[in-house]
Symmetry: C2
Subunit: 126 residues, 2 copies
């Protein structure tokens, strides 16, 4: 599980700058795949938007029509992908997102090279 960036300075090189290496593509794909499920996306969003940036399983599982083992499974997938972390506090287990991981994925998708016009969702460049 090497969520680490490729050694050296090419941190967060966007997709469009140069072809991804196989290793780097594998790491990224593992993270994107974790995001490739509506339940997991909603889980991530619920946790990220929860007060304090963290939430316990009991808080979030109520928002889904799924069994608790299923929620637990999805949380595990997100955690294995390096997108979440968790900690047990007494009876409850709290989860929070790892911002640097999301940030890394976000940066990869910025296709600066590819003449992004400024279309529908023009996140005004900060």
């Amino acid at each position: 599980m090497s969520n680490q960036l490729p050694d050296g300075g090419e941190c967060c090189s966007p997709l469009a700058r140069e072809p991804l290496t196989e290793d780097w593509a594998g790491d990224l794909a593992r993270m994107f795949k974790a995001l490739g499920d509506p339940v997991r996306l909603r889980l991530l969003s619920l946790i990220a938007s929860h007060a304090g940036g963290e939430a316990c399983v009991c808080d979030i599982s109520a928002s889904f029509d799924l069994s608790q083992p299923t929620i637990s499974h999805h949380l595990k997938v997100l955690r294995a992908a390096g997108l979440l972390d968790c900690e047990r506090r007494g009876t409850w287990v709290y989860y929070w997102v790892i911002p640097s991981a999301l940030h890394q994925l976000s940066a990869v998708l910025l296709t600066e090279g590819a003449a992004v016009p400024s279309p529908t969702c023009a996140e005004a460049p900060a």
Copy 2:
């Protein structure tokens, strides 16, 4: 295929601002799932980084150890997800990325709410 943003002003609301709706999560998940394969990520990257921002299948398929139908399948998945578009020009078919789609995904992942410490993917392992 509604890759469109939800109607109204909530364009590109990041994950952390508020919980994703089911519909919105479904749309996003479809796109992220398409990115959740190393082959497809490399395809996308090869195309995006190719001269002119577009490439024909014959250009890119040589970079893979996969059969031609498999490459074609992955390209179809990326296209169905709204990440690529293509056009036939004589004998060859050219593909290019749709920057606004990548941009949209990138924006969603920006967890402004979640106290991202220091941008550049600094691993900053706590």
